[in-house]
Symmetry: C2
Subunit: 428 residues, 2 copies
């Protein structure tokens, strides 16, 4: 299919961060094929005059099916919350529930401008199926947890291999598999090494939680006489195909190690604040070292939504607050994390509007009251806009939402189904 968006404002996110006025963008198949002013025919033409065209967001750390637990057990102490709420509810999960929970999250992401996400959870075949149904770009990995038990490690390894086979079988360029290790305190070193080997062999990503809390760091130092990233380097599992979620408590030395191995960071400010970890990534040092930092919402239980607009605002505000410096993490850098940073982290040729890039594009309603007046479009997007400003979402050259109506999913049906499932799962 070809799509032509006429006379629009284009936030290119190119090297010079150019904003083009009154510009046409042509999408051919799944690629942005032409940008400028031209007379071209297309199967589908969109009047872009009152729109801002920009790259879709890339959400680099999620647990999509947790949408089912939204609002279930907020404001609780972590262990109590896990033991009394989340674990009993998760024990009741099925592939079908996971499928519908993932559909709900994917619908929310499309409606708030996210065009790709990096998901770690259970029943990942169901997450893949949901993404395929929605025409959503996703990277799926099993939440590998073995609690240092060899048998469990073997089971989780086999699950990872099975998922890989399943995703290969889907033969859909939108769905990719990754390996995953939940964290250094839930996975044996052998298991982490094994997951990294599978990742390298298959040229896929490895996704893990790292240094989310001070306790994790302290425990690691006590057990291994070194900090988490030093420990992971010693295991030989660092590399450009590795994504660290959180990374709040990295020392400068650890950030240097991250840079040396070109590991990617998925920064989750709302989750860090809501779970009261006290952690704030050392963004300025990461930025000064050109570490690839992306942005992520984490799951609904620690957020409670997947709106990358809110996440951008929170990221910028948390840095300014923590550093007591209003100039830290300016709007453009924040937007870069949510687009370019995410695409780079996940190895997707997107996150910018350029000829040859994947057509993962969103159109914002330029006349939404949050975007008026237009003293600074980037500032408006980061500090003022909502997910509801997104009018149209295009993923891989397919229009998955237009005029806020989903084209690949039956939103009402998904919501009804998820309300029913949540009532089954979330009972005390």
């Amino acid at each position: 299919m070809s799509i032509l968006i006429k006379n629009t404002t284009v936030l290119t996110q190119d090297k010079n961060r150019r904003i083009l006025k009154n510009t046409d963008v042509l999408v051919s198949e799944n690629i942005i094929s032409k940008i400028g002013k031209f007379n071209e025919k297309a199967e589908f033409v969109i009047d872009g005059r009152d729109k801002i065209l920009m790259p879709g967001f890339v959400n680099t750390h999620t647990h999509a099916a947790m949408s089912l637990f939204k609002g279930f057990g907020d404001d609780m102490e972590l262990n109590e919350w896990l033991e009394k709420k989340i674990w009993p509810a998760e024990a009741k999960l099925t592939p079908e529930y996971t499928y519908f929970g993932s559909l709900l999250s994917i619908a929310e992401m499309i409606k708030t401008g996210t065009t790709a996400f990096n998901d770690m959870y259970f029943f990942m075949e169901s997450v893949s199926d949901a993404a395929k149904k929605a025409c959503m770009r996703v990277i799926v990995c099993d939440a590998v947890i073995d609690f240092f038990d060899e048998k469990k490690a073997e089971i989780t390894k086999n699950r990872t291999l099975k998922l890989l086979t399943y995703v290969t079988g889907l033969n859909d360029s939108l769905i990719r598999a990754a390996t995953g290790s939940h964290a250094i305190y839930t996975c044996s070193p052998e298991s982490i090494i094994s997951q990294k080997r599978i990742a390298d062999k298959n040229k896929i990503l490895m996704h893990m939680h790292v240094s989310e809390t001070q306790k994790e760091v302290n425990d690691c130092i006590k057990k291994n006489k070194m900090r988490p990233v030093e420990y992971l380097e010693k295991l030989g599992v660092l590399g450009e195909n590795v994504v660290f979620a959180h990374a709040c408590y990295l020392s400068k030395k650890e950030i240097d190690i991250v840079k040396k191995h070109n590991v990617k960071i998925a920064h989750c400010p709302v989750s860090n604040m809501k779970l009261a970890t006290g952690g704030v990534i050392d963004w300025s040092y990461m930025r000064s070292k050109n570490v690839c930092v992306s942005l992520a919402t984490d799951g609904h239980s620690s957020n409670n939504n997947l709106d990358m607009f809110k996440e951008m605002k929170m990221a910028a505000l948390l840095q300014k607050h923590a550093r007591m410096d209003a100039t830290v993490m300016p709007a453009q850098d924040t937007l870069d994390m949510a687009t370019l940073g995410g695409a780079q982290a996940l190895g997707i040729n997107a996150g910018r509007i350029a000829v040859g890039a994947l057509a993962d594009i969103i159109l914002l309603d330029k006349k939404d009251i949050s975007l008026v007046p237009q003293n600074d479009i980037v500032s408006n997007i980061v500090y003022s806009a909502n997910g509801s400003c997104v009018d149209t979402t295009i993923i891989n050259g397919s229009i998955v939402m237009q005029n806020r109506k989903l084209t690949t999913l039956d939103e009402d049906k998904i919501k009804e189904k998820c309300i029913d499932i949540a009532m089954t799962l979330c009972t005390d």
Copy 2:
């Protein structure tokens, strides 16, 4: 006029914070006259089945006309920003510009569920006119700044008296005047005392910024040998009709003084973070002492919107982060600040759905994806919802928005006008 909302979910915000299912609410003139199940006729009937009916938000500290400066000079160091951006732009303000800037903010507030606001700025007659036009509830005060100059103090005093006369002349129960002192570092003690006397004599509020930054506290200690609230107590200007915006750096002793005089707090978490003051109100101590804490967005220049949903989320997250305790400021307390707290702070008989209370009501779209599933309605509202979930806004018994369409204002015209004005004002 009478309005009947049928078969709806009612978030009462009553003493027991009851949530009523399948309930009817009758509005007669400007008052909520009946709640329950009944057969009653009304001029206007709304099907409430897919709605959540709740009190409108009360935003207790704003500078509405600064909507014109949205995104102009973000991420800058405070003094540079004021000197290079805001002051030159403000110097070009006119009553007409202020009128339209205020209309834009009022439109945004109505669209995001705010039904009353407490505004401090310049050309407050224009703000009053804008609120009157919109049928918006407002308390207006001049930003009194005299820089310890007797002549300026006299001028500002006269301006306050003139505004009082103007508002009295409007004879509109929605528009009330207040006195104001910008801050202790911009107003002489005589001027602050004078404003308090005018407030007391006329039974109106006094609105001022207090303890926004550590510098303000340090300077006060240096100059007056006491902290700001102690200084204001010594001046004899504390009382139940006083609203302190910010109040980030109050000592426990100062909070005790605030409580003793029943002073009200307008908490502005986004502004505090964006301006990187490092300040976090000591909410837990205030709560333990039953201090009236309300919620506010401050102006667009330090936010950059007036969405009380975002403000609630930020308030709860900032407390959890700063105290490293996920149980601090739970969702219900956060919602209370934004509704009950605000109404109490401004002396408005609203902030709850009760027979006899003012009909300042909003209806949320219960099927908005951010509110699904419904494990916990209050949590969904605080942590997940957006201003765009608001479907209908009723102020003083008048429907000012229905199906997201404003009824008292021409939104498109206001936006066009404000884009033009901003281009005139915001030039470097």
